[in-house]
Amino acid sequence: MDYNERMEKILEKVQKAPRYTGGEMNTTIKRWEECPLHFGFCFPDTYEVGMSHLGMKILYGLINREPWSLCERFFMPWTDMIELMKAEELPLLSMESRRPLSDFDVIGFTLQYEMSYSNILAMMDLGGVPLENKDRGENDPIVVAGGPCAFNPEPLADFIDAFMIGDGEDVMTELNRVILERKEKGLTRAECLRNLAALEGVYVPSLYDVEYDDSGVITAFRPNCGEAPAVIRKRVVTDLNQTYYPEEIPVPYTEVVFDRIMLEIMRGCTRGCRFCQAGMLYRPVRERSMEKLIDLAEKLYRSTGYEEISLSSLSSGDYSCLPELIRELMRRLKDQRVSISLPSLRIDSVLKESLEETQQVKKTSLTFAPEAGTQRMRDVINKGVTEEDLLEKVRDAFEGGWSSVKLYFMDGLPTETTEDLDGIADLARKVVEEYFRVPKEKRAKGLRVTVSASTFVPKPFTPFQWDAQNTIPEIIGKQDHLKKVLNIKGVHFNWHEPYLSFLEACFARGDRRIGAVLKRAYEKGCILDGWTETFRFDTWMEAFRECGLDPAFYANRVRDPEEILPWDHIDSGITKAFLLREKKKSEQALTTKDCRQGCNGCGLQRWKGVCGYANAGSV
């Protein structure tokens, strides 16, 4: 039986078959023989999560656009599918032409969150690709990875051949060209990897050696060949208007997490929140022009028929002409009944005007992220939001007819005290009061204030990269306290168990040695860790023990500023000096201004023509 027949047989039995069928609108099936380079794009989570991801759609279109390369998609199958595949001896197949992963010249993983790492191993294993790069032969694919977690590539150093650091649009094509050259010239795998290492923004971990002291702290990290640079500088796309953006994106049959057009209005953020890794990694801020966005929105609507467009970025409220953009999009797409949504509203930039306009089309719940409960705590994390700001925006929202508000907070932040936790409850209570202050006939019925608290995970390239995460018992204690104080009428409290955040903290700041734990945990059956029903914390802890590593070394240890950090060879543009400065200021609860008010000297100003605000001459 061929793959298709076996797949059909499995699809009759599997739950949620639509995740595996393919054939969606706007997917591209190019002729295999006519394209010399075959790229297998792997999203290490389920179809519903992967198909919600914008980056994948960008690169999918970008690779397929080149006449010489084709791109097909792979997703992580659910556990029932894995069992059926094993029983039928069916390898992981692409969504498009149903070819096994091992048939591709290059397979690329997108690293969006650490807790998807075990899925990477599972997908390679199911796809017939040797897990560790040392075991791959001349006929095996080159395995690459990119995305935010690639900024600390070390935990995956044993498994990934080459990492792409920074914006993927330009480097993707360059990387594919090098791999094509290998095929055409018959170069060896080793030669190809050295050529990849010579590309700007590409890190090939096997070309570097690491030394540790007895405690596990890194004492030396250096390249072992001439092609490998000592420091890998991230790639930055400077002009988003000139950069590829898809005009057609696949439209799934089945509902996915974000089933809509995502219009990336800008990249980066000028706020400088100290806990936010994305805010540091995606610097500098770059906007797409209004003309470009309107053109894209119309084209994407015509090619997808979606009912909703979400304006996406780290901080959409900061887009310079947001009200104009929204007004124009609504004017052009009103007859088509397209609604516009802003997923990450920053409370201090929500304009009343745009609020009213969004609501005209669709009234969803409004999200605010004060992140911390007291002004002191918000100053520590440089979240430039005051209580008055928040309450004013909330009042506007309630007066504008909203009755459902979500408030996002973190627990376990550096220097946090009980007072800061109580502050969360105070804020929630004040939000409730604002609602009741609006006259009954003016406000919408059914007040619902949802307070969500997530556990803080210190991340590389943030001022908190040296800090310890709270221990699990500490976090549980804080959550218990929050449960008590948030027992307020009209308020609903959401929290997550801290185990996943603890593991995330281990891998976020992990070194190469932790790769062994990942492999061991996978062998012991850990997969789909991001899903509560499949997450097995105890097994993970066993894997740590069996590998002789202490997870607390990674999660709960305060690092010395002198220490060589596992990601020190990656240049994100942000300097350690800046991060240390920010750390000192945070300890004194001193804030740093928004880059739009002047450059803070984060390090990017060193790169000519990269940051528009630095070049404005305010250093």
């Binding site: 047989k9 699809l11 009759e12 078959a17 639509p18 069928t21 393919g22 054939g23 969606e24 609108m25 706007n26 997917t27 439209v251 049959y253 089945t254 509902e255 609507y301 015509r302 090619s303 997808t304 028929g305 979606y306 009912e307 088509q336 009944r337």
Partner: protein
């Protein structure tokens, strides 16, 4: 004006459920740029109905959708624009413009013809010879599963045609809003008749939706 469209649900997407197919057509119509009519209200949607929901797992050769247009458009243009807007697995083969007063397809639907492909090679030898005996019976019981209960019912009067050839069974079965014999019910009864007591792997292809003409003859629904 309304437009009836005859479409195929391809084998690759046979596991896509009816709600998802509906949504695909909603979006396809939006992509097509055709002048469709929207419902009023807070969540406007295109006025579209289907003659019959096709079960998950089955493919369809001549399924029918019924769209209310906001202004006139030719059948040829409808067909051409829809086929550009729909994926390869959901292409249209015919379109027919009808008056707003045209009766609802659902109400006119009487039966459907099916090809049931037997996926296990030795099944056909046992099942096909059992057809005459079953058809000779006055009543044939099968179980009908609804959301809340499992009921026994007599499907014999609901089977209009039943034949076998090669690896396939061909059947015309009643399908109205009141009563229906699903291919699964038929296969359950037939395998009991043939003394096969294992699960049979099949591919159900709904070939045509049928209504009754003035003489009471079964004819393709879209032609009525």
């Amino acid at each position: 004006m309304r437009m009836l469209g005859v479409f195929e649900k391809g084998e690759r997407i046979r596991h896509i459920g009816h709600l998802d197919i509906q949504r695909s057509f909603q979006r396809g119509l939006r992509r097509s740029g055709l002048p469709v009519a929207y419902s009023n209200g807070f969540n406007p949607h295109i006025l579209i109905t289907f003659a019959s929901a096709l079960s998950t797992g089955a493919c369809g050769r001549r399924e029918i959708l019924d769209v209310t247009m906001a202004s006139g458009v030719s059948e040829a243009e409808f067909l051409e624009r829809m086929n550009r807007a729909m994926p390869p697995e959901l292409q249209l083969s015919a379109a027919r413009a009808v008056d707003d007063r045209h009766p609802s397809l659902m109400g006119m639907l009487c039966a459907a013809s099916y090809e049931i492909v037997l996926r296990d090679p030795d099944c056909a030898e046992k099942l096909i010879p059992a057809i005459p005996a079953m058809m000779a019976k006055e009543s044939v019981t099968a179980t009908r599963k609804t959301k809340t209960a499992v009921k026994e019912c007599d499907i014999r009067p609901l089977i209009y045609v039943l034949e076998g050839s090669g690896q396939s069974i061909f059947a015309t079965l009643a399908l109205t809003e009141r009563e229906a014999c699903k291919p699964g019910m038929l296969m359950e009864a037939l395998s009991r008749e043939a003394g096969l007591d294992r699960e049979i792997r099949t591919l159900v292809i709904r070939k045509e939706l049928l209504g009754k003409d003035e003489e009471g003859k079964l004819v393709p629904l879209e032609q009525l």
